[in-house]
């Protein structure tokens, strides 16, 4: 006997869950599938929520599992979609003798930035702008907190692929933050 109130509460979380699923999966269909499976699983086991502090926390936990399922399934079913995009662009410019062409700016007190709600939104926007496979790998590490060998296994990529993707992701994020958030920083 499904509790209509509970079902409504779950439904109200759909938008939030979709946001994370999109960011991680980088594909609208896969994201919608992951979220639907999450809400269905939650609806089928309301008793496993009993006593937990927050609905969103519980749902995000289920979502992460469903997302890993999606990643595993899709990378096997549709391998061509997972081709690593060529990414030759030099993210940081160096001179011929290895100095910065444009020295890094002083980003000031980290706490000050982290206190601003807008900062994490900008961070999220920068993550969403990473090339698809790079973004997936980055969030598998930084959000799903999977180990390297797990990521390599689920996406059928080599460890070298993984290091290169993570390395470039971090450089790109830094560059994006510098433009979108710190463009007023002291040079």
């Amino acid at each position: 006997m499904i509790d209509a109130g509970f079902a409504e509460q779950l439904e109200s979380q759909r938008g939030n869950l979709l946001r994370f699923a999109r960011l991680q999966l980088r594909n609208e269909t896969w994201a919608e599938d992951a979220v639907s499976e999450t809400l269905l699983a939650a609806l089928e086991r309301p008793q496993s929520f009993a006593g937990r502090s927050q609905l969103s926390t519980w749902l995000v936990g289920i979502l992460k599992h469903k997302i890993v399922d999606q990643l595993r399934r899709r990378s096997r079913e549709e391998p061509l979609l997972w081709e690593l995009e060529p990414d030759r662009e030099e993210v940081i410019e160096f001179t011929a003798d290895g100095h910065f062409a444009h020295p890094p700016a002083d980003w000031g007190d980290p706490e000050a930035s982290l206190r601003e709600g807008q900062f994490l939104k900008v961070m999220e926007a920068c993550v969403s702008e990473l090339p698809a496979q790079m973004g997936r790998v980055f969030l598998m590490r930084e959000w799903l907190e999977l180990e390297s060998d797990e990521i390599c296994k689920e996406l059928a990529i080599t460890a070298t692929n993984l290091w290169v993707l993570l390395h470039r992701a971090r450089l790109r994020l830094r560059a994006c933050l510098e433009i979108k958030w710190f463009d007023h920083a002291v040079p």
Partner: protein, 64 residues
């Protein structure tokens, strides 16, 4: 083994250090470079902020 890093090499090592354990040699040569370079310590602090920011984002994602 390289005994001195350019900023380009130091950046490579600092970014690599986010995802693997640096060797003793890498840590030592990096530290020596950071002692004499004005730019790279700033870069290092930027990496630290990004790490803290992702942790905060990750925590908030479960709380919303």
């Amino acid at each position: 083994m390289k005994l001195r890093y350019t900023c380009k090499e130091a950046v490579d090592v600092m970014v690599a250090g986010e995802d693997r354990v640096l060797t003793r040699g890498e840590r030592l040569v990096l530290w020596m470079h950071l002692c004499v370079c004005r730019a790279c310590p700033r870069f290092q602090r930027q990496l630290v902020l990004m790490r803290q920011a992702m942790r905060r984002w990750r925590e908030q994602a479960s709380e919303e």
